[in-house]
Symmetry: C2
Subunit: 103 residues, 2 copies
């Protein structure tokens, strides 16, 4: 069974969050995930339909390891959700502002 590693809320760092968001593709993934209630698969949240699966996996792993998303295996798909409460608790206002500024 695939196990995904997520940092605990206390281990989410400002530097890690900024680094993970310093990429237009990852910003688009976060925006897609925040548009829906509940989870999205990696392919549903892909910023480009023709993005290589390995590239997509890399972006999701970067977001996960920074503490920005939580991934769970459901059937044959990985389902992702933004850890909005954890991020807002650690860094109030940051994610909202960055998403607004990236428009």
């Amino acid at each position: 069974m695939v196990q995904f590693v997520h940092p605990s809320k206390e281990d989410i760092t400002l530097e890690g969050v900024l680094e993970a968001l310093a990429d237009p593709m990852r910003l688009r993934i976060i925006k897609s995930l925040m548009k829906v209630e509940g989870c999205m698969s990696c392919s549903e949240a892909a910023p480009c339909p023709d993005m290589a699966k390995s590239t997509l996996s890399h972006h999701f792993r970067t977001l996960r390891e920074a503490g920005l998303i939580r991934t769970t295996k459901k059937g044959v798909e990985n389902q992702n959700v933004v850890r909005i409460e954890d991020i807002n608790s650690r860094f109030p206002g940051l994610l909202k502002l960055i998403l607004e500024l990236s428009n």
Copy 2:
């Protein structure tokens, strides 16, 4: 004569700014620079007194290329200042929030 390359205000990107600030040493340099009125030399704004000159130069170049600081040659020293108006004009509230959250 040393010429430093600075992006124009319009060419400063959100991704570049986030990437440059995703490092605790660079955040400390920015904080030091913002504490003074006017410019600081690289050694005055160094986050650690024993940081290698090449490492320090790398951090200043990263900040400069992201559009966060402006460097000018004055005598034998490079003088640096945060491009606070340009950054606030491009990304209102971002630098202030990141600096607050990094405390």
